[in-house]
Symmetry: C2
Subunit: 339 residues, 2 copies
Amino acid sequence: MDDRKLEVLRAIVEDYVATQEPVGSKAVAQRHALGVSAATIRNDMAYLEEAGYIHQPHTSAGRIPTDKGYRLFVDRLAQVKPLSAAERRAVQAFLDGAVDLDDVLRRSVRLLAQLTRQVAVVQYPTLTRSKVRHCEVVKLTPARLMLVVITDSGRVDQRIVDLGDVISDDDVSKLRTLVNGALVGHRLPDASAAVAELPNTVPHELRDAMVAVSTVLIETLVEHPEERLVLGGTANLTRNAADFPNSLRQVLEALEEQVVVLKLLASAQERGTVTVRIGEENEAEEMRDTSVVTIGYGPGSGTVLGGMGVVGPTRMDYPGSIAAVHAVARYVGEILAGR
Amino acid sequence: MDDRKLEVLRAIVEDYVATQEPVGSKAVAQRHALGVSAATIRNDMAYLEEAGYIHQPHTSAGRIPTDKGYRLFVDRLAQVKPLSAAERRAVQAFLDGAVDLDDVLRRSVRLLAQLTRQVAVVQYPTLTRSKVRHCEVVKLTPARLMLVVITDSGRVDQRIVDLGDVISDDDVSKLRTLVNGALVGHRLPDASAAVAELPNTVPHELRDAMVAVSTVLIETLVEHPEERLVLGGTANLTRNAADFPNSLRQVLEALEEQVVVLKLLASAQERGTVTVRIGEENEAEEMRDTSVVTIGYGPGSGTVLGGMGVVGPTRMDYPGSIAAVHAVARYVGEILAGR
DNA sequence: GACTGGCACTCTGCGACCGGGAGTGCCAAA
DNA sequence: TTTGGCACTCCCGGTCGCAGAGTGCCAGTC
């Protein structure tokens, strides 16, 4: 494959992304200084079409990139397009104002959505990879407790525990001490055994309560840790009605369903490396009309706590999205490291 | 205004809601047994149009209700349309499975969205009207604390406090006791003065830390209590593309912005009474194409903790939406009361 | 052998046109 | 007050024609 052919592909991708209209040979010849005539470009286009990188909506239209074409573009042609200084400052300033983890994540989503003008998704740090910093036990009613688990990523989760019987304040604080002893400093999966053992180590009168507590901990935190997601900028999906002629509804539903998105985020979580999934490369049927740009984020150490990214039409500004996702993930990581 | 004219209006509203097409005199005459001919209905329609309850998209089309027409329908014609037994059971079963407040609210939103096939919104219980049940102080790093405020509605909020200096575990637990003394059992606004006084009541070495803590409490919990919103079923907005020819994007943005919705919910919060806002009745420009059905919810006692409701096209099934919103609010109230 | 200008061809998009149909308003009669 | 009849209006869908864009191919040039 010719260098010039690649340049032609680049021109087609860039122009199509910018104008949203099929681009013809003449347009390429005059908007990009390739030093050859339109006729030559036509020949190259014929080749590119033959090879499956572009295609014609109909005989006498210009060309638009195929998913395969975008893939080649992303892999070989996309140049890094760093954020402007102003953008970088904005990211930093905006994120620094956050008051807690929820706030950091909500702000990240907004940032991503604004920077890329697309839908942004950010996953909460997964419970499985965070260490427990503290577990508070609060009595809600005489026979009902609330467990509040705080992890080192700043994530806070609550669970209600129904006891069969009333419990004294004194016993509550004993429970608290014991539970913390088993949990603090450990990742949840690692603490599983210790938590399961807890009921066997307590005085008889605390037994039932402890069983209830450890059951809740194991069932709802260890075995089915809740993965949460923040979504933002869904309005951007409607920016170009033409992008999702029929699938807008599907995409919105998939986003709201969360499951599909969580899978996407989970399956591409190297820290510092952006993963791009283009159109039909997506496993999920509903996302075949979209491209997804994701990255794992986490504190400096290299651990990945969760994923974040943007979802948009295959016709998206890949270099820009990649840069934005990368930058936001980095800052979020820094903030998490600082906490 | 004639009884029959009202019936004609009802017929037009019901048919239009069902078919989404302008309804003509003939259709009314045969689908609804009013015992009069199409010509008579034409006369009534002329009257209704004159009075502003219906209008014609163009000369030779049927009629569609105006916002004023919907209003009359809702006020005088809408019959209660109770949920089916199956629906009621589903609501109860689904909500009873919730593990904590977050879960209750998320499930409520889903329920509402599914029952009404519209966008659902649920507000978190406002902090201002909940009593503090416990405030946990956790040391995140040597010089940084996390406050976790738990209220009797089950809502849990966190805040980060940056201290200028390191703090000992001992001092942290002193802080905890003091803060809890000032907060527990009170509504946040009522505790404001006590919290502001806290720094003056502590030993000298705790002073700085306490200032930091009480500042955060007052600034981010008392003065700017965070109102949160759960959104669901946004995909339903795209159910009928014709509903929001141009404003779909605006509406999505407004929903995401939250401010507009929070105002809507705040301004109509009588418990047990559903408020309906139809099209142009909405103050917010962006919502002029939508109708909003809201209600306040709260535990049995009569206190309203927050609002919930649905947002949809003016052409919505009002009786159905009203019934669904009512039912879900009631069950959520019961659950809140039980906790 | 690669590139280029020219040219015929194809296909869409858009506006004009037109007839069928739905629905109305009005009128005179019951 | 209601009703059947009727002329009228306007949308909607289909067809037609045309301009424009873009192509593929070919013959000629460097």
